[in-house]
Symmetry: C4
Subunit: 380 residues, 4 copies
């Protein structure tokens, strides 16, 4: 028992293991301000749509912007590989499941075209909303200037696991501080977990951080390569880095929880864990406006050697507006996400996100009971 | 590993995670006194029926009072909106599930009528039992005097999350100490969790506290807004506040666990966790006397923007007397609730509730085994 | 977070949560001595059969004794209420499930007859094996002398929850030290949990202790009255009391884990947790020799007010000899229980039970994996 | 609560309870070196195939060797009992499940023939790859020289639970240091768990250690005899012993996790927990080259008295090359195991196994959520 230990195994927490503890005051939900700031941009609702082909089209981005959130267009997906991307998406939706991975593998072999990058940005800007685009670190130097030139307002540099330093013998890794200096636009970087990585990325001058690597036990990254950190812990660690960086420099970098959020409850827990906003995929893929037509898949799905994830049937539940603001007859927390956050802020007495982040969490794992889903609710 | 933490996540416990540890003596169950005191009222059995339309009617309240418990009538439900509330309840029971939420939304738009408030109170008082009524904080100033004037003995002020201070720009929040002074009747307030909130509410002069916010993982509050504290921990925290307040002032405020109690085991665990009594909904909705006719729903169900919970078929299991006192052929702990508590008090050697509250609990989570449901039981 | 706590909730462990850690040597299993001592009686195999009507008949007790274990006859069951108990048992087995509880309630209303008590003891003694009988504390003063007079060697005083002190206004509780002095036979007492209770019972001069109250989460005691302690923790606590008592007095009291043991693995874990033997019900009810004919039930089943447990179909798996010693084609650990213990003692290098009790346990909860049920096993 | 404790129960971890935490840098996966060294032999991929009859035939061993791994032939299985072993394996595959255990019991009663031992070794050596063979401690003195004489390069001495000291009255246990001196070939010993046992085995001069005893809760050893340690903890403990031994002597003994590995994720976690390599059974039994023809069983299955495990249908998923290197259309982590490890090393920034072993793990248990299996993956 007293033998040396090889390493410590730290406790981490996921959404299903924690719950929010109400505070000492309650407020009127209408008075809660949930806005998110990225660089000079202020978004009334702290919600981003994931840079996935089945989630964000130029049209979707415009609608999302008008509703107060931010949709990120994937600059390395079908929209920048095909002029008629909508047709390709229809083809994916109509293909039987057993051929879907093969089709995706073939479609994603077509190269990304710079003209289409510029065209898609312009399509979004024509809607008079902020335009955000996502690129991988490898293509950032090439595509970021094209997108910015075309009018992109925010650049998201995203890969499964991102750190401030990528070491390669064959090429020089992307230096984020150089990218920030070059494009003079707010840069959001992800995905990452961990206090040290988050702090180092912030020191590169970025404006936002996407938090989340393999957050769920059933997640592909967990299953295939064993990597992952549950989202509550991942968010708390990055929030701790934000506070430290804020204390040192006076500059505030927004922390955005990305991955595994299915319900209003998960959304609220992310914010209490320290996030300034969240990025969602599946809930938006389920909207009628989503280009995936009731399907969704990840960028790792077409990988020919180590495919992760498959095309998944997610169905369609309602309009984007209903997902964000209701009303809805669904009672499982998947609709009216901002209404849920507003109600939560009322119950914990938080006038804004900074106050919400001060709320307590308890560890309250999988208690399977019918519960009393019956409470008198009228005061808030 | 040594990085700063954003916040601590405290361990909490639900009913399914703990078990009661017998003590060093056993007693004859017949000698156990389980009575509950609210202000000057003493109830032989420490059981309240929830202020839900499908659970408590005036007739139900009379029967409950005669059996030694206390049923709370919801003053903002169908009974005070419609002279023919029983017919409306029948309509709800007969409506197909897909139309139930819509019907409930429509029914609850009818305003609460002061005359009906007075009439329902008088109906209960005609049965010669204590009359308890529930109102929300927003309507407390208007309805509480009406109910007290008509003869109400105990006023329950209840909302999903209640604190001693509600902050609003548009109106002045209810001050509980003012209400206590005004109506000169025992006031029970809830629902709350947390030592500090409980202590502050007690300092307002209330006589009882309802404990429980989103207690179960499957609970609507947990799913939709992420808020909730498992009931064992919630009860223990409020009991700690009661002890502190008792120590400071000499006044004893009863702590009532409200929510998530399904079986005699949950009932017993609530009391060992520090409760003086429990409030139950579903077990009473399943009685033949319940006005819901085998259905139940919560006050948040008709919310048009963020509905939580639905009309649930709970079925009918036996008479109210059988639920409380048996006999029964059911062996799953859902009948003869007071018999269960009495047996428990015998096994742990507790002559009264104060002694029962001193009993130990162990953390003993979901061990799925056939178990040995076979023990010689004769000594108690 | 820093608020006062009402009580601490101690961690406890059940069979499914722990695993045995092999030690630094291995031995030949054939060299392992697993014998159990109760007073002057030494049993080659540390296994008792539960005092249940469906498990132990006089014939069963004789067979068990000849195989090296000890079966305990229930002196307050059908065998001492009816001369033709076997016929009553056949009637129970043939009754449809919906009428079974009612039939049991009726059958157990017949009074216990002293002549049948003596007769059953003599039937067992005629088989030339040690005779053990079980009685409740209430009837101990009346029935124990009758049984001892007829030749009983060991008296088991058993109830659901037993302590050294039972307090009643209407009668004087049983004093175990007086019973021990009176009958001059080894007395086994149970069921209990907890260090203090175990120590106090040992100080009354008893020879054995039955450990186990509501061990499983699905157990009736847990469900109905919330009481229970998982068996690994319960056994460890009583073993700690045994060590303390041994240290103080030099007298060794055997600790017997009773309840929840289904497999060889559970048996082995009980012993490593500190038991000197185990008491089993269901595995023996499943033997062809069991009088229950493939059924089992507990003494709390017929309780008219608070019935706990029901008649359960357990089936028949093999002869008593096969359950204890194999051979068997079943590979789930339910057969050849002593072979399992012997193999375990070989793998952990324990020559006897005292050494086995020194082996380490790890907390290794419900990992659901296919596992590698394939290991080269030949060395032991 | 303050009562003495009989023993402490230490926390242990299995694959499904932990996840790998990415580090502060990422690297190009192509630059990662995952090689394993056993004595003077260096294997490009750190993967061994289990010494099971249904997994490794001489042909399988040759193919595995050419792909860069090491397959271990069981010298006490059907291959050395029957000249026509392939026919016996076909017979097993064609037998109905209810007769399978009986057939296996009969087949394994035929004695092991020294000539066949030599012949099988020569068959493997004819393929011009390193030859590894497995024997039990009881037969090591007799069979190891025969195998080495025939050309075996590595000797694996394996039993369910192995320690440095086996105590028997009837024979002198195997002294590993003597075997090492005698055969002058690298010796791998297992299976073991625990720091002390691992250290003592290393002090006997062995070159490799197989880690894993009853790793899964559903494992036969756990079910039947209660013994087992989850693999992450078992591997960490043996890795700690390796470091201590390396520090003392400068000699490096490879630690190989054996048992319970189903996916690339489990493989990666084993290495991060401190392993230098892994041994797999079922994933290889599922290859088209496996002699078991879609079935698998363990050496304890034919035990006549205490059979553990049964013949299991595992199916066939692809070629050995596809299992190890892909490509594959399966996305559940069961194919392209080395691709998974390579991707993992890229994400955590490990250029070699020693660096990989420094990576952090978090405790992240069974969070059942759909998760976001959708991540932009392109940077690695």
């Amino acid at each position: 028992m007293g033998a040396p230990r090889f390493k410590e195994v730290r406790r981490s927490y996921g959404f299903d293991e924690v719950a929010i503890v109400p505070g000492q005051v309650t407020i009127n939900p209408e008075q809660a301000d949930m806005s998110l700031t990225i660089g000079e941009h202020r978004f009334p609702i702290p919600v981003l749509a994931s840079a996935m082909d089945a989630v964000v089209s130029p049209d979707f981005a415009i609608k999302m912007g008008r509703l107060g959130g931010l949709a990120v267009l994937n600059l390395e997906g079908l929209w920048t590989r095909y002029p008629d991307a909508a047709e390709k998406l229809a083809e994916v939706a109509e293909t039987p499941i057993e051929e879907a991975t093969t089709l995706l593998q073939r479609l994603y072999q077509q190269p990304v075209q710079d003209e289409l990058v510029a065209q898609r940005v312009q399509e979004i800007k024509a809607g008079d909303v902020p335009c955000a685009v996502a690129i991988t670190p490898q293509r950032a130097k090439r595509l970021a200037p094209v997108a910015v030139e075309a009018g992109a307002d925010i650049v998201v540099v995203q890969s499964t696991v991102t750190t401030a330093r990528h070491i390669s013998k064959s090429y020089r890794g992307l230096i984020f501080s150089e990218l920030v200096d070059q494009i003079r636009r707010p840069v959001i970087v992800g995905n990452c977990v961990g206090y040290d990585v988050a702090l180092e990325l912030m020191e590169n001058g970025i404006s936002g951080l996407l938090v989340g690597i393999g957050p769920g036990a059933a997640c592909t990254s967990r299953e295939v390569v064993g990597i992952g950190v549950p989202q509550v812990t991942a968010t708390m660690d990055c929030a701790a880095a934000r506070e430290e960086y804020l204390h040192r420099t006076g500059r505030y970098v927004s922390v955005i929880t990305d991955g595994g959020i299915r319900t209003g409850g998960d959304f609220c827990k992310s914010m209490v864990a320290g996030a300034d906003g969240v990025m969602l995929g599946t809930p938006f893929a389920q909207s009628v406006e989503a280009p995936g037509r009731g399907y969704n898949w990840g960028m790792a799905t077409p990988d020919p050697a180590l495919p992760r994830g498959t095309r998944i049937r997610v169905g369609t539940r309602g309009s984007l507006e209903e997902v964000l603001f209701g009303p809805s007859s669904r009672t499982d927390g998947t609709m009216n996400l901002t209404g849920a956050l507003r109600a939560c802020m009322g119950m914990v007495g938080a006038f804004n996100v900074r106050e919400l982040q001060q709320t307590d969490l308890v560890y309250a794992p999988d208690i399977k009971m019918e519960g009393k889903a019956f409470q008198l609710a009228g005061s808030l």
